[in-house]
């Protein structure tokens, strides 16, 4: 008891530090506006509250925890995770408030092309044209919202993870850097955050992963890093080839800029009336370099093999954020850069993208059917679903783009559900093998319900989030590619087959007595714990909400896609 006494003070300190941080964030978020009044008169709700605050607070928490002796660190778990949960609610609150117009009146369904709401730009490195430039539109806001929703849910889901004093801050850091990727409107900043996301994920896999975590973490890091280096090469080429310009945010030394909005404007005027910005060959070259980086991240077959390894070894929280948001970085990047800047190259490679999408879709689902590991199966199903996004892009229709965007959002809710189920399964049954046990519904009715719900959502049951996206992609797909639609249709059956087969061999069967897995050594399997129940319930609720009322997010995605077509492709005089 005596040992605990000093720690009580520590806990109080934590609460004080937390309050201090929140206060700082609140003041800091007001500050830029005071310093340089924004043209649209809106407070910068992005830089500090959405990006800076989670990253900084998680670093502070990590630093605090690492100061403690290892023996006493477990005592910190509880206050740290509370703090993390509280801090992670800040971005959620801000983004939700922005959506509901509580902080500023924003017409989310009417954001002009390449103009963003609450756009804020501060000079960073003047000599080469780098600025801290953030903003949101119909493409990035749903992703930001999704991330800020998922982080607190993930923290609740993994409430009792061991070494929580380091684990939960890493999740918070992950969330902050992911939001950073989505709000960045500067290539330099975009790349920094893009790589920053690797760091927390690398440590999450390395320190909390399964038996082969070292291999998986290294593979994950090296594979995606190599791809992003190629992407960087594309970005740098783009930077140097752009026409030299003058004005704010163009580098003093180089005469060029990293600013995405300026680049996109430049691309648009260059592409006007049949012109080809940078020349068609260079467009194709940069397009391919950028796409390669994004396709690996997505991941698309054949660049997908890092994903199952990373997922199987990653801890539950890592998997949830990896599948939920990190994969969408690839799709987001495609939509933001190559699609918007190189319409001619996109049209040239349209069929190639379609084929890659189709191959991912079909291959992912067939491989799923051959898996015996629950988490591996779910990981491959992600590969399959990401193929749908590529099909949406290749359809070259606003409805296809809106569908791809909604697929990103819907899969961002459904796949964390799937990995949460896998995590809970592993946690309570100490096994991942499909068919190692029978009759889960008998012992773990809640887990069985969530599993069935998640599986059904993933196989595209109507009125759950995924259905609308799949329907819209297929609607856009048929007029362009005709009878190739039989392949996605075949995948719908295969998807149902592997999900139902795994349900049959886990939830069902087992007779009156049931058949617990050997890994439990005869113990009675427990049902999921309270915090897991809360997290999965929230996810299920969101999946139903966005399935029944897709327009909440779909309206702004739709207007973004329309805008893209009117501004980018309408200039090309026909696809």
């Amino acid at each position: 008891m005596g040992q605990n006494a000093p720690l009580k003070i520590k806990e109080r300190e934590f609460i004080l530090v937390g309050l201090f941080l929140i206060l700082t964030a609140a003041i800091a978020s007001l500050f830029p506006n005071i310093a340089s009044p924004n043209p649209n008169g809106i407070i910068d709700w992005i830089s500090i509250p959405l990006v800076g605050f989670p990253i900084l607070s998680s670093i502070v928490l990590l630093a605090f925890a690492s100061q403690e002796k290892a023996s006493r660190r477990t005592k910190l778990d509880s206050p740290v995770r509370l703090a993390c949960l509280a801090f992670s609610l800040v971005p959620l609150g801000i983004s939700t408030a922005l959506f509901f117009d509580w902080l500023a009146v924003i017409d989310w369904t009417n954001i002009g092309y390449n103009s963003y709401v609450i756009k804020h730009q501060y000079v960073w490195i003047e000599s080469i044209g780098v600025s801290w430039h953030v903003g949101m539109d119909g493409l990035s806001f749903p992703m930001v919202w999704l991330t800020s929703i998922l982080v607190p849910i993930t923290i609740v889901m993994t409430w009792d993870e061991k070494n929580g004093s380091a684990y939960h801050p890493l999740l918070l850091l992950m969330g902050g850097s992911l939001i950073g990727v989505f709000v960045a409107l500067d290539l330099f900043m975009f790349y920094v955050f893009w790589e920053l996301t690797l760091i927390p994920m690398f440590f999450l896999i390395l320190k909390w992963g399964g038996d082969e975590r070292r291999y998986a973490a290294q593979k994950f890091f090296i594979y995606t890093f190599t791809a992003s280096v190629i992407m960087l090469l594309g970005l740098v080429t783009l930077y140097f080839l752009q026409p030299i310009g003058t004005g704010a945010h163009y580098g003093e030394l180089t005469g060029r800029t990293f600013d995405m909005t300026l680049l996109i404007d430049s691309a648009r005027s260059g592409n006007l009336d049949g012109g080809t910005w940078l020349g068609i060959d260079m467009q194709k070259a940069i397009f391919l370099m950028l796409m390669l980086g994004f396709l690996v991240k997505l991941p698309a077959v054949p660049f997908h093999t890092w994903l199952p390894d990373a997922h199987v070894q990653a801890p539950t929280g890592g998997s949830m954020l990896l599948a939920g948001v990190m994969l969408k970085m690839g799709a987001y990047g495609m939509m933001r850069l190559p699609v918007a800047m190189f319409p001619d190259a996109l049209m040239y490679y349209q069929d190639l993208i379609m084929i890659i999408g189709l191959v991912s879709l079909v291959w992912g689902s067939i491989v799923c059917l051959g898996q015996t590991n629950l988490k591996r199966m779910v990981a491959y199903s992600s590969v399959s679903h990401m193929g749908i996004i590529l099909l949406g892009i290749a359809s070259m229709q606003p409805i296809g783009y809106a569908a791809a965007l909604f697929m990103m959002f819907a899969h961002g809710l459904i796949s964390p559900m799937l990995f949460a189920v896998c995590g809970a399964f592993k946690h309570h049954y100490h096994s991942m093998e499909i068919g190692s046990m029978r009759g889960m519904a008998k012992w773990s009715p809640f887990l069985a319900v969530y599993m069935m719900f998640g599986w059904m959502a993933s196989l595209g049951l109507p009125l759950l989030a995924g259905f609308v996206a799949e329907l819209m992609v297929l609607l856009a797909y048929w007029p362009t590619y005709g009878w190739w639609i039989l392949l996605p249709a075949f995948v719908l059956v295969i998807t149902a087959a592997f999900y139902l087969w795994s349900i049959q061999r886990t939830i069902f069967e087992g007779g009156d007595e049931g058949q617990p897995p050997e890994s439990l050594h005869g113990e009675t399997p427990p049902d999921i714990s309270g915090h897991e129940n809360v997290a999965m319930f929230l996810l299920a609720l969101l999946i139903v909400l966005f399935g029944v009322m897709p327009f909440i997010a779909l309206d702004m995605m739709n207007s973004w896609s329309n805008n893209l077509f009117e501004m980018v492709f309408a200039q090309q005089g026909g696809a």
């Binding site: 491989v367 051959g370 409805i399 109507p462 329907l471 609607l475 719908l492 329309n562």
Partner: protein
């Protein structure tokens, strides 16, 4: 067009059961095991009964309001999206709406669905809550039951093919959950998966069909796609293809050849589920979908879509005979009914095919009659089959009960608590029954009337509609020779129906009890007789509907009206039309059909099965004469059918013509084999390539590392070489 009145509240017919679904699950979770919950609320049964009662009431009000006119209401925008025409650079906004659409087809199916769901709910309270195996898990049943009903009601009320599909899928999910209700039984888990996957194959084609339709019309709303001008504007060939794709969906859902394999296995679910899925609701969904295609065939250019009409009729004809044949050898009472369902649905498909052919060739009056007859058969079949399933459930339930008593008596101790899974007694096998006519009078009567309706005994329920279907199929056959095949098949099938339905009744209710258990059966469970009695009268009342000229009303969904029962088109005209047709061909056809279905088939069954009841037992008057007739026929005409019973055809029928075996083999060997190969390929080749790059990089780097010798001399040497190289490069550049 905005409606007003009850139609504005129509969505609550669907919403109420959906909202009650989580409520029952939650309450069940909270109060499971409490006596008030178990006996007072019947584990949720009372809640669901109230909800279904309100839905039924609303439906009836809605039906009264829209008995004779088309209506639609409450169109909300669900979401919007855009279509971009690249050549003209025009952005076209597409709206996906949600709303309610009502015409005669909707009215009829709405009545069937809400009325039967309510009655089945009543039956379930008697059936489910008294079976010890369901102890403390009935709330799950009632919750899923409600969601299922909501799916069916929603599908019927939907105003677009999109929402039809959405509710169609929800029904698919619920059928999966309900068939797998006894999840711990491997057979139930297998059957549930099979049902979902088989229908999923059809659903995917339906989805493709809908996508093609959307591409043609730019919308899936009935109001848009049923527009005659719009239909004439699109290419009839593509339209036929799209509708053909949708028809595959209907084939899956209505369990027609070749996607029929799921239906018999689906009998693994509790009996109320069988009544619900296989009679009242889900299997009718496919018919509803095909019926909804009528406007396309009516407006398309003459003769442009006859191929699809013929295919629909062919599928119907083949399924009708195949299912009837398999029903010959079934021993499980529910399986007989399952195959009978398949066969009767096939009749309706053939009738619809005939109607579609007729309307596409310009015979509009005939088409109306054929269409009306098909839908009238749907109604009659749903009522009769719902009743038959519930009656079979009643038999099975009382057999179980009696078995418990016998069991307990033998053991000399209380054997009520543990369920009889441990012994081999099959309470569903007709070989264990017999002689129940006197022991279960209400059930036996219901079974008798239901079977008569399915067989088509003159003047009872199904007779009117079945006559219509067969006559209209022959109408087409006279004009289009290839239609002879389905027309002939369903004519033969009428006789087969007469045989297998009679066989079922006589095996179960006539003759002496074949087991000790059957002799002890008593009709004693509350709630169960209510729906049986109600439906017996509804089925007997088929003559009233026929007299009201429902075929005309159902056939013409915009202009059709009920006729006066005693008026010009009333019962006299119907009777004259049926029994004294002035066209000699149809006059003969009628009596051939009656002869086959009502005399030949039942006589054959009587010769082989049944017999007089055991000593001292006497059935009610309306059944006793039949049993007497049965015993006379059996004594005079009995023949040895063991040659047939041991034939290879009989064995093949017993194995359901090996369809299931082939499908299983194809799925397991082909698809799963391919998947396993793909999984190995993915690991060894695709990931192997990545690992190859990795290991070769490592090998290369260890070569390079060997340059790191640690000796200062080597480093100076290398620095010098490097400097030299740079000098050479600069020199070369300069």
């Amino acid at each position: 067009m905005a409606g007003s009145g009850i139609i504005d509240y129509a969505m609550w017919i669907v919403l109420l059961p959906i909202l009650a679904f989580p409520v029952i699950l939650f309450l069940g979770r909270m109060f499971n095991g409490l006596p008030q919950w178990r006996d007072g609320a019947k584990e949720g049964g009372i809640i669901s009964l109230i909800v279904m009662g309100i839905s039924l009431l609303l439906s009836l009000l809605l039906i009264m309001e829209h008995l004779n006119h088309v209506g639609s209401a409450s169109i909300y925008t669900w979401f919007t999206s855009s279509w971009w025409d690249g050549s003209t650079a025009v952005m076209d906004t597409k709206i996906f709406g949600v709303g309610v659409y009502i015409d005669h087809i909707t009215v009829m199916l709405l009545f069937v669905a809400s009325f039967l769901c309510f009655l089945i709910n009543v039956f379930s309270i008697g059936y489910m809550n008294t079976d010890p195996i369901n102890k403390d898990r009935n709330h799950r049943f009632y919750a899923e039951f409600l969601l299922f009903c909501a799916g069916m009601l929603g599908m019927v009320l939907a105003d677009s093919f999109l929402w039809l599909f959405i509710f169609w899928e929800i029904m698919g999910l619920c059928s999966y959950l309900l068939i797998g209700f006894y999840y711990e039984r491997p057979s139930a888990a297998y059957a549930a998966k099979k049902a979902f996957l088989t229908t999923r194959v059809g659903d995917v084609f339906l989805l493709i069909g809908l996508i093609m339709l959307w591409d043609m019309f730019g919308s899936l709303d009935f109001a848009v796609v049923f527009d005659a001008a719009a239909i004439q504007a699109v290419d009839a060939g593509s339209l036929q293809l799209a509708l053909g794709m949708m028809f595959i969906g209907a084939v899956g859902k209505s369990a027609q050849f070749p996607l029929h394999v799921w239906l018999p296995d689906a009998m693994e679910g509790p009996t109320p589920v069988s009544a619900l899925i296989h009679a009242a609701t889900m299997v009718n969904a496919g018919l509803y979908l095909v019926a909804r295609m009528f406007p396309f065939f009516a407006a398309a250019p003459l003769g442009s879509m006859t191929t699809l009409a013929i295919i629909i009729a062919m599928v119907g004809g083949i399924t009708a005979c195949m299912a009837a044949l398999i029903a010959f050898v079934q021993k499980d009472i529910k399986k007989v009914l399952a195959y009978s369902t398949m066969s009767q649905l096939a009749y309706i498909f053939t009738g619809l095919g005939a109607a579609l052919w007729l309307v596409n060739n310009g015979y509009e009056t005939l088409a109306t009659v054929a269409f009306g007859a098909s839908l009238f058969h749907l109604f009659n079949h749903a009522m009769a089959k719902g009743m038959l399933f519930m009656a079979s459930g009643s038999v099975i339930h009382e057999m179980h009960h009696a078995h418990h008593e016998v069991h307990a008596h033998h053991d000399g101790e209380d054997g009520h608590d543990d369920h009889d899974d441990d012994d081999d007694f099959d309470a569903q096998s007709m070989e264990n029954m017999g002689g129940l006519a006197s022991r279960m009078p209400i059930t036996a009567t219901a079974m008798l009337v239901g079977s008569a309706s399915i067989i088509g005994i003159p003047l009872i329920g199904g007779f009117w509609s079945k006559e219509g279907i067969i006559a209209n199929a022959w109408q087409v056959a006279l004009k289009e020779p290839i239609f002879m095949i389905p027309a002939m098949l369903i004519l033969i099938c009428a006789g087969m129906t007469g045989f297998y339905m009679s066989r079922m009744w006589f095996m179960t209710f006539a003759g002496e009890p074949k087991t000790e258990v059957a002799a002890k059966v008593k009709e004693q469970t509350a709630w169960i007789p209510i729906p049986l009695v109600v439906l017996t009268f509804v089925t007997l009342g088929g003559i009233i509907f026929a007299g009201l000229h429902s075929t005309n009303w159902l056939g013409d969904s915009t202009g059709g009206h009920f006729a006066n029962f005693f008026g010009d088109h009333g019962i006299v005209a119907e009777l004259g039309h049926a029994f004294a047709n002035h066209d000699i061909f149809f006059f003969i056809l009628t009596y051939v059909t009656i002869g086959l279905s009502s005399i030949f088939g039942p006589m054959l069954a009587m010769a082989l099965y049944g017999g007089s009841l055991d000593e001292g037992q006497k059935a009610k008057g309306w059944m006793q004469w039949l049993i007497n007739l049965n015993s006379q026929v059996k004594t005079n005409f009995h023949f040895d059918n063991s040659a047939w019973a041991n034939s290879s055809l009989s064995r093949a029928l017993d194995n359901r013509l090996y369809f299931d075996a082939w499908y299983d083999a194809a799925c397991l060997k082909l698809v799963v084999g391919l998947a396993n190969m793909a999984s190995v390929f993915d690991r060894k080749v695709i990931d192997g390539a990545v690992k190859g790059i990795e290991s070769s990089t490592q090998a290369a780097s260890s070569k390079v590392r060997s340059l790191t010798t640690g000796s200062a001399r080597d480093y100076i040497m290398m620095a010098a070489l490097g400097t030299l190289a740079i000098f050479i490069l600069i020199w070369g550049a300069a």
